[in-house]
Symmetry: none
Subunit: 275 residues, 2 copies
DNA sequence: CCGAATTTGGAATAAATATTCTATTCCGGC
DNA sequence: GCCGGAATAGAATATTTATTCCAAATTCGG
């Protein structure tokens, strides 16, 4: 590679890089200035573009982009791109390995476990913010706000969410019926015209939950389903399927994202009823 | 490329792809199943990884990953990667921006509410990681791991946590008794020598929970209390007081931090029992 | 326990992509 | 308007990366 000796040190972070581009900007010959401008304008796609693609969009030949990379202190485009790529890939470390490490590591270190569950919760919440399906959410709010009684159902690990919703709706003055299967009763006859069902279930879906959902569908009640992706088996079983990805740690999930979504749903329904 | 004729149509969107992977999952030979699993686990970095890198992380040779791509209907890894790359180049899953976008929507809009609860949950989790009292946690784990039966109690908004713990302990093969006050019964006579109590309660503390705690203290059972700071009123009422600060949004809290702590506690107790 | 079919890992090959090189153009000073 | 140095574009090359193919290992059915 040319000019190795009088090339500056390469930026080590995206912030460094931005600074360096800003420094250079304005004191650059025409084509290189174009490179600089385009790099800041199109930074979203740098991680996934080849030099050829990027320079084509910038309206310069690839060699010009290469020269600009050298000017910034990189050995080439690949080195610059690495910065953007690690930024994109940040997050999700490999959970399988971390779990294995934890098991083999200092057994019974509770604080480390807390850290892992905190991390899992954080990632789940980020995922919710990223992947939220706003349209379906709006429709779910609408459907539930028109219901006379909202039937809540969730078994096993979904039960805590149903229980919490029952508390929250109560506080908000909205009538609910919690189907908890107490005593083996399914109370499916409690479903009345004008009601709606909010079911929470994760794969493998519990038979009781699906039974209630099917019953509601049979008498044409609106059904909102809160579940985890990909939910292939549930398509067509409910009008409105809201998926929320939870990052599991070990066998258990933090439920953070599911609860956040459920709370937002409840509060939105209450707001809509009043308005 | 091999087998072009009997290869299915390639998925056209990430949703399609997820569905297809879910379909295949379970009916796959060992190595290909590893590919499938890793593809969903590590989906954040697919856009910026080479086959070599990705398959190394999945623990399979590159050729196996290629075979899996063909199975999904793609002509190769590049075609699969294109799906992820276009997703990255568009929506920029930058958490901060996305959250800002969600919030800036019409006030009271469901998506904006989701953003608020996500933010509250995240802050709570950060707080937990920062303020965790490791010493007390260790002692709590020790106390609970020696119990014959763990009595769980939590009313009102603490009930979901108690319910979840009941599920988790069950899965871990640990005997529990959930005091849910059903039918106005308090079952305080269920407390036996050798048992321990894990109580979850937030200010204002519910009388039923405190009654059970006092009863347990009276017969010298260890009591672990999970509550919110400052917990001044509770000092002296239990041996071990674990505080966890939750950031509320509106009248409701996400419970993220409480659940994370509760889960870690449960898993640590199980680990300690086995060791 | 054997043979057939499937699955696997790795070496060989092909394609894509980055990078350098050089002839040519551009521009400012005399 | 001509000279010298910087800047440029595209062709040539090197490197990385994807993809295929096949021999060896494994699994499965009888």
């Amino acid at each position: 590679m040319p000019d190795t000796q009088n090339r500056p040190k390469p930026p080590l972070s995206l912030a460094d890089l931005r600074d360096r581009i800003a420094d250079l900007s304005g004191k650059l010959p025409r084509v290189l200035q174009q490179c600089a401008d385009h790099l800041v304008a199109d930074h979203d796609s740098i991680a996934v573009s080849t030099v050829a693609e990027l320079s084509a969009r910038a309206g310069v030949p690839p060699s010009a982009m290469m020269r600009f990379c050298h000017l910034l202190g990189f050995s080439g485009y690949s080195e610059l791109q690495r910065l953007y790529r690690t930024a994109v890939a940040r997050g999700l470390p490999d959970y399988a390995t971390r779990l294995a490490n934890l098991k083999s590591g200092p057994a019974g270190h509770p604080a480390a476990l807390v850290a892992e569950f905190v991390e899992a919760g954080r990632l789940s919440l980020e995922g919710l913010a990223r992947d939220l399906d706003e349209t379906t959410l709006d429709q779910a709010v609408k459907a539930l706000s028109q219901a006379a009684v909202i039937h809540l159902v969730g078994y096993r690990r979904a039960l805590p969410v149903a229980v919490y919703l029952s508390y929250v709706f109560e506080k908000l003055g909205i009538a609910t019926f919690l189907h908890d299967g107490l005593g083996g009763l399914d109370h499916r006859s409690a479903l009345r015209p004008g009601d709606a069902v909010l079911a929470i279930t994760f794969a493998p879906y519990s038979a009781e939950t699906l039974a209630l959902v099917d019953r509601a569908r049979a008498i044409a009640l609106p059904v909102v389903l809160l579940t985890d992706p990909p939910a292939t088996a549930l398509r067509g079983r409910a009008d409105l399927v809201l998926t929320v990805g939870e990052v599991d740690f070990g066998a258990f999930r933090s439920l953070s994202a599911t609860i956040a979504l459920a709370l937002a749903l409840a509060v939105a329904v209450a707001a809509r009823r009043e308005g």
